[in-house]
Amino acid sequence: MTAVSWFREVGIADRPTVGGKGGSLGELTNAGIAVPPGFVVTTHGFELFLEALEAREPVRSKVEALDPHDLGAATKLSEELRRRVIEEPMPADVEQAIRAAHAELCPNAEPVAVRSSATTEDAEDASFAGLQDTFLWVLDADQMVAKVRECWGSLYSVESMTYRLKHSFPEAGVAMAVVVQQMVDAMCAGVMFTRSPTTGDKSVITIEGAWGLGSAVVSGEVTPDRWVLGKITGEISVRDISDKHARQVPAPGGGIEEIANEAVIANQPCLTDDQLMALREVGRKIERHYGKPQDIEWALDEHGNVFLLQSRPETVWSAKDAAAPVKPTEDNPLKHVMSIFGGRK
């Protein structure tokens, strides 16, 4: 067990130590999908750090002793624990491992994204629990380490702690993995569902995208272009090109900023038909790999290369799948034609 694992070393089964996001990125990498390279600071890394904190002053017992309905006390404890996570020294071997991995990942000081990777499905679904930190365009190793600490610290946000207490999650099992991944300076980016979000139809792929980084689409700050493609045929049945007034781009000092789109590109589709087909191919490949429809985040770099940033199983419609057959079976197959000739019932 190490504090750091590369994407290529992990898969979806490693979720307990690398989190859902880290496991999925590892799985995709190993499936031959173009994922920007990166590593995961594992739960083991976090636990070593937490042990160091506990050695100085208790952490978990304080959380367990908290009254989840006492907002004042929770706020005070949250401030204290988050400050400790951000400020107190990290075990030297953990910090060295993270910095060494970063140096290997970014030989030319490439910017990275730092994202929390929760280990339980509950936590992933419960985005309100404050466990979905994402820091984009992190420029150097010091900043990267600081952002890893912030991700860890989010475990001690008021929402996160009270959520665990209310649901009686044992504090001993609480851990957090953190993904550190090279950034794609996206020309455009967005999301892709490998089924219809409106009808659940598995024979279509819905793609939404806008100029710049995908964060603008995911956060809903820009109305993206939208396409519906035949998953199998590649036919494009819907092309909704929207007025994309702004895009998110890297800020000079790190992080991202929003800038206005020039009129000439605001109403231009952000993807060509060839790019849509490339995305469709990737979507199909991932869906086949997992055997079920996916909810995917993607980006195109300046050369138009497709990168996958995340893929999760689609949850809304899959709960309804196979509930009833499309058409009841018939003893004599010819009786099926009665649905045409027999009149409406």
Binding site: S196, S237, P325, K335, M338, I340, G342
Partner: protein
């Protein structure tokens, strides 16, 4: 509640002033009567997009006689009987006869299952038998002699004791030809509805399993690969290949004079003669394709006018010589179809669904060769022989002074043609002049004027109250008419929009110059890369698909000829727009989005600079 829009009643339609006599001479049973206001009718613009010559009404009449018989009495469709038809201002309106009494439906279900299921179970055997019947019928029509009247009866009549004179042969030929035409329509409907029904069953299943699947994806899963409709075009390719192989390809050039080319080939020796032999092989039967859908006498075949297949030859010859492969990749098409069927199957959730899917696609594949193949034999080959035989009567009667032009015969109803023939038979026998030359010319002129006038008056797409549901499988399958269509027709008053909607026939987006082609004679105007905009296409037009960049039609659904051929050629196409030939102007820049079924007129939009 806002007042619901509705279509005019039949009694609201007025005969165009000055054409009353022409209207009155359509058969009495095709005239609207006051009781018809109680019923819903729609304009059958799919089969009859233009005002009908009086003779051509036989194409509606014979078809509805046979369709009705098979729906009502042979297959016994549970919820629908036949189709009634009326004609006003030359426009054919039709309406279904629904069965609504549950007891009657129940009785008919039982009958239907005994009869239709027998057909499904023995489909291949019965279809083989059908082809034999059709070919016999065609041979019978081909064997009918050309009608003619000698000055004196041939001496053989005397020597053989034949006892029947030549004027009787006119009636005999005419009646046999009309009888054969009716028989052809019975054959036509022997399988058609059952075939479409099996296809629609699979179609419905796909729409339920995959709510956003396109019609064209389903069509592609079912489409047959050996269909007769591709054959005429394949023959042109074959002739191009043979021309290169025989070294006579230099004779075929753009704008060639066909008669001159044929004469040259005759003169250049064995290679030329051999090619002419190949041409004969192709012509019979494959050049019997009509330039229309087989409902108008003026839609001629390639055999009547070789200019269309010949226009395609230089292009194919160039491609062959440059090493391009113009063969239809049948094996590839088959494997693509199988892949498509397998890929959709994989998306189904349960074994139960997969079992049903297998049964339905299996049945659809069995019945589909008929659905695709019958048209060549019925609407093209036989219909061509039929109209050409009537033309022979037109020429004979012209020669006896009944009218000026052979084609004028088509201004008479089929019953009037028979009476004109009797007039001539009498005259020949009596040895006195016929009455026709005094009687018909004025009537012909009047009807000619009426048809011209009717063509200037658009007609309502439907008449009467819109039914809540359209539950007639024939109307849904053959005409693609649903409650949704009718609602959109009612709301379709917006003529300002630059967009036209139709059926998405083959995906892809193309911008280019629109070329409005109203008849096959105008096909020569198409330049490489133009977008074809036409009322309807048929197999005759296939060779020009190599030349165009996209296609748009007024009429047709996802299984129409244009849609099928466009998919073969991977050509973006939108069919069934209703009015593309009226709304788009020749030479305008348009955008065709075949995946969405949308055509946009770009004329007034600024052209974006290429970055």
């Amino acid at each position: 509640m806002p007042e619901a829009k509705s279509f005019p009643l039949p009694s609201d339609l007025k005969v165009v002033p000055g054409t009353e006599a022409a209207q009155a001479s359509y058969p009495y049973y095709t005239q609207f009567v006051p009781e018809d206001d109680q019923k819903f009718w729609f304009y059958n613009s799919m089969h009859f997009p233009e005002p009908m010559h009086h003779f051509d009404m036989i194409t509606a009449e014979a078809a509805y006689v046979a369709l009705g018989a098979f729906n009502t009495r042979v297959h016994v469709l549970p919820t629908a009987k036949g189709i009634e038809h009326r004609v006003i201002n030359g426009r054919v309106y039709i309406g279904g006869v629904a069965v609504t009494d549950p007891a009657e439906i129940g009785e008919r279900v039982e009958q239907f299952q005994q009869r239709a299921f027998y057909y499904y179970e023995h489909w291949e055997k019965l279809y083989d038998q059908w082809k034999v019947k059709m070919k016999t019928l065609i041979a019978d029509a081909q064997a009918l002699p050309k009608p003619s009247l000698p000055d004196y009866e041939p001496i053989e009549t005397t020597h053989t004791g034949k006892g029947v004179a030549s004027n009787h042969a006119l009636l005999d030929i005419y009646q046999k030809q009309v009888e054969g035409y009716h028989r052809m329509w019975h054959h036509h409907f022997e399988f058609l509805l059952l075939g479409y029904g099996a296809y629609m069953t699979f179609f419905d299943f796909c729409k339920k399993a995959f709510p956003e699947i396109s019609d064209q994806a389903i069509s592609r899963m079912v489409a047959g690969m050996e269909a007769e409709i591709f054959r005429p075009d394949e023959e042109v390719k074959r002739l191009a290949r043979r021309a290169v192989e025989l070294g006579v390809d230099r004779h075929f050039t753009d704008g060639m004079n066909i008669d001159q080319v044929l004469a040259e080939l005759e003169a250049v020796g064995n290679a030329g003669k051999e090619w002419l032999g190949e041409l004969e092989t192709s012509r019979n039967p494959w050049f019997n394709v009509s330039s229309g859908d087989g409902f108008y006498h003026y839609h001629r075949s390639w055999n009547d006018d070789l200019s269309l297949p010949f226009a395609a030859l230089p292009g194919y010859i160039d491609k062959i010589k440059s090493g391009a492969n113009i063969e239809r990749p049948t094996e590839q098409l088959i494997s693509e179809r199988e892949q498509l069927v397998a890929d959709y199957r994989e998306l189904l959730d349960t074994d139960e669904d997969r079992a049903t899917y297998d049964q339905l696609i299996g049945l659809a594949h069995r019945v589909f060769p008929y659905v695709e193949g019958h048209k060549f034999y019925c609407e093209h080959w036989y219909t061509n022989l039929f109209f050409n035989k009537i033309r022979e009567f037109g020429a004979l009667l012209r020669d006896h002074g009944f009218w000026e032009r052979e084609e004028d015969v088509f201004h008479l109803t089929q019953y009037e043609v028979e009476s004109a023939i009797i007039d001539l038979m009498l005259s020949w026998g009596i040895g006195a002049p016929p009455r026709g030359p005094q009687h018909w010319p004025a009537i012909v002129a009047q009807r000619k004027a009426a048809i011209e006038e009717w063509g200037k008056h658009p007609t309502s797409p439907a008449l009467g109250a819109v039914p809540d549901v359209i539950d007639d499988p024939a109307i849904v399958m053959l005409w693609g008419i649903t409650r949704d269509n009718l609602d959109s027709w009612l709301s379709d008053g917006d003529e300002d929009s630059n967009e036209l909607k139709g059926f998405a026939a083959c995906s892809g987006v193309v911008e280019g110059t629109a070329r409005i082609v109203k008849s096959v004679e105008e096909i020569g105007r198409l330049q490489q890369g133009d977008i074809l905009v036409c009322q309807v296409t048929n197999p005759t037009w296939s060779p020009i698909f190599q030349k165009i960049s996209a296609a748009v039609s007024d009429i047709g659904g996802s299984m129409s000829h244009m849609a099928i051929v466009a998919r073969e050629y991977g050509l973006p196409a939108v069919v069934g727009t209703g009015k593309a030939t009226q709304r788009i102007k020749d030479g305008q820049r348009i955008r065709v989005d075949g995946g969405r079924g949308v055509v946009t007129i770009l004329e007034d939009e600024p052209v974006l600079e290429e970055v």
